[in-house]
């Protein structure tokens, strides 16, 4: 049984895992790239080892080096987090071969679910409904895919077989545009996962993306922790999640049905540890298996908030061969949780990534607020990794309270140095459709706008005008007043005053 865990990841999730280990009294080992020497996970861990240069390929994807460090540091197990090596069966196998625990499922389960095409045919075989596509055909060439596409029908999706997080995913509207899209999808998949294989899936329109968290221990217990609503996406990247789903709502019967199908899908691959079954749900409440994520999810905290189960700690307990702390009967969803993913992206500029140094940071606090992050003032957001800065999670007694609390927390949250998508979330919180829970996976792209709402307070533009004028005025004064270089410790207002007196 291990007492020291190597965390093969970076950013907020590495910090999250370190926290769980700490609370369990376990030693932690961080690994980092040259770009991450100052990262929080390096600072919070008991030991830290350099992996290599900044690009993931030369650092966080270096399975050989990570295993070597695990052995050198006498770590007993590796937690892969999400992304990077989390869903690589060969990595999980290599850990086991070296006598290291892998905090996640068995390599065979990762392989079965990891090849999304194989996964679809496996669960379909156990009676779980799937979205039509090229399941169970293994890796197809571009020619084969182009041949099969018209049979599935357009619109359809190209997805990376090793995929997740919308990477290597493309939406295809016609056969003509498909070759170019295949090309870019493969390129992105290759860059993100080191595997350029793709498959096709019919695009269900007006559907919701709802997933079920499951936990399975080595004693044969499999439970589900209810659902998460993940329909708010942009370019297939989740932006906001909530639990429970406003669509499932009071329909306990649907929740139980989805839960038991999820448990069945997990059992179909002999699953151990935490995993998530993603479903597409149409407006008539028919649900289809989309894929299984054989790892900890970014949005796991909302499930933690409504179930009071610490999923990461359960993962570690399960990996140590212990029994889960809870039975299905003990799991109750209470209250409502919402997570906003705060990304270094400018919502006013086509969500372009923003890089730079975080100069200043004020985190929201107070009742019912949780922030999972890996950054702090002075930290550099580099272009090498994904743009997630932090996750803002709130819990309320009701959905209404959660929304109002999220609104309050977003307004408190100040990040200076890079542009973030916080204004996007603020607009979302004010959107009537969001408030009513009426949205599907196309909502953000098709029906949402960053334009100021019609019913906004009429004085806001005036206040903005005053602010801009005062800043412009101070700048102009400063430019006119600088005679000697260097810092002035006098307030700008004093300078303005003096300037005014001189010119009176």
């Amino acid at each position: 049984m291990f007492n020291k865990v190597l965390i093969a990841n970076r950013g907020e999730i590495a910090v999250r895992i370190i926290r769980a280990c700490r609370e369990l009294g376990m030693q932690t080992v961080a690994v980092y790239s040259e770009a991450d020497r100052h990262a929080l996970h390096v600072r919070y861990s008991d030991e830290a080892y350099l992996l290599g240069p900044a690009p993931s390929r030369e650092s966080y994807l270096r399975a050989d080096k990570i295993i070597e460090i695990a052995k050198r540091s006498h770590s007993g197990a590796i937690h892969p987090g999400y992304g990077f090596l989390a869903e690589r069966a060969d990595f999980a196998q290599a850990c086991l071969d070296e006598g290291l625990g892998f905090i996640g499922p068995k390599p065979s389960s990762i392989a079965a679910m990891g090849d999304k095409a194989v996964a679809r045919s496996t669960v379909a075989g156990s009676g779980v409904p799937v979205v039509p596509g090229t399941e169970g055909e293994g890796s197809l060439s571009d020619d084969d895919l182009l041949k099969v596409a018209p049979e599935i029908g357009f619109p359809l999706l190209i997805k990376a077989t090793a995929g997740g997080g919308g990477k290597g995913m493309r939406e295809v509207r016609s056969l003509e545009e498909m070759p170019a899209l295949l090309n870019s999808a493969r390129r992105e998949a290759e860059a993100s996962f080191g595997d350029g294989n793709v498959y096709l899936e019919k695009l269900l329109e007006g559907a919701r993306h709802i997933e079920i968290q499951i936990l399975a221990d080595t004693q044969g217990n499999v439970i589900h922790l209810g659902e998460r609503e993940c329909s708010l996406q942009r370019r297939h990247q989740k932006l906001l999640e909530e639990s429970p789903s406003p669509f499932v709502g009071d329909d306990q019967e649907l929740r139980e049905r989805m839960g038991s199908v999820a448990v069945r899908a997990a059992q179909a691959v002999d699953y151990i540890n935490a995993g998530t079954i993603e479903f597409l749900v149409d407006k008539d409440k028919n649900f289809y298996f989309l894929e299984m994520n054989t790892r900890l999810q970014v949005e796991h905290p909302i499930t933690e908030a409504v179930t009071n189960v610490d999923i990461v700690k359960e993962q570690i307990r399960i990996a140590r061969g212990r029994q889960m702390r809870h039975t299905q009967e003990e799991i109750r969803l209470t209250g409502w949780a919402i997570e906003c993913r705060v990304n270094a992206e400018d919502p006013y500029n086509n969500f372009l990534p923003s890089t730079g140094r975080i100069d200043h940071l004020i985190l929201p606090t107070g009742p019912g607020v949780r922030v999972d992050t890996g950054v702090y003032p002075g930290f550099e957001i580099s272009p090498y990794y994904d743009s997630l800065i932090s996750k803002l999670i709130v819990r309320g007694e009701t959905r209404g309270e959660a929304i109002l609390r999220m609104r309050r927390a977003l307004e408190e949250y100040k990040i200076v140095g890079v542009r973030t998508n916080i204004p996007f979330h603020q607009h979302l919180m004010d959107s009537h459709r969001f408030m009513a829970g009426q949205y599907d996976t196309r909502f953000v792209e098709e029906r949402f706008s960053m334009e100021a709402p019609e019913d906004e307070s009429e004085t806001l533009p005036e206040i903005a005008a005053i602010l801009a004028t005062l800043v412009a005025h101070n700048e102009a004064q400063r430019a006119a007043q600088i005679i000697q270089r260097g810092e002035r410790d006098v307030s700008n207002w004093k300078w303005v005053g003096r300037w005014e007196r001189i010119h009176r």
């Binding site: 533009p461 005053i466 602010l467």
Partner: protein
């Protein structure tokens, strides 16, 4: 000092009377304005109502992010404005547009070539950064003048990628 702040079609005439008072469209307000520890986050009290906003300088004017809304604001000294008006003509709309890399990254493709006529919204360069492929689009119609990068190039932030005339 008198300024005219423009947001879209709306103009606000703002006179800075002294360090505690301004006149906005004829009405006097008491203001208290502070920058939060030298950062672009500003705290403003207007007749004791408290506001907090980000104010960013832009090539032309200012961006103010207030309560999750972004305002693009042009601030002009009233005298400058009168001078410009008497000379006739607004700020130059034409001229060369330089597409600069909004972040460091890798050029994936350049779907346009020199001399090509393009319209607003056309994709000029696809840049990969933070694991995402980002389409950089043209803000206006024009002709691609000079392409300075090719697929495979690594570019720094603010590096000029191509120019549109």
């Amino acid at each position: 000092m008198k300024y005219v702040a423009t947001i879209g079609d709306n103009e606000y005439t703002i006179e800075i009377v002294d360090e505690r008072h301004i006149i906005l469209d004829g009405e006097t307000y008491e203001v208290d304005f502070e920058s939060v520890s030298g950062q672009p986050v500003h705290s403003l009290l207007v007749d004791s109502k408290s506001y907090e906003a980000y104010v960013y300088p832009e090539d032309q004017g200012w961006q103010v992010l207030l309560h999750g809304n972004l305002y693009l604001i042009d601030v002009e000294d009233e005298r400058e404005r009168r001078l410009r008006a008497s000379l006739g003509g607004g700020p130059a709309e034409k001229g060369e547009y330089l597409l600069r890399a909004p972040m460091p990254g890798l050029v994936v493709s350049v779907p346009v070539s020199e001399g090509e006529a393009i319209s607003k919204g056309d994709v000029l360069v696809i840049l990969e950064s933070m694991k995402m492929q980002n389409e950089l689009k043209s803000p206006r119609d024009g002709t691609v003048e000079r392409v300075r990068v090719k697929p495979g190039d690594s570019v720094e932030q603010k590096e000029t990628l191509l120019s549109v005339a």
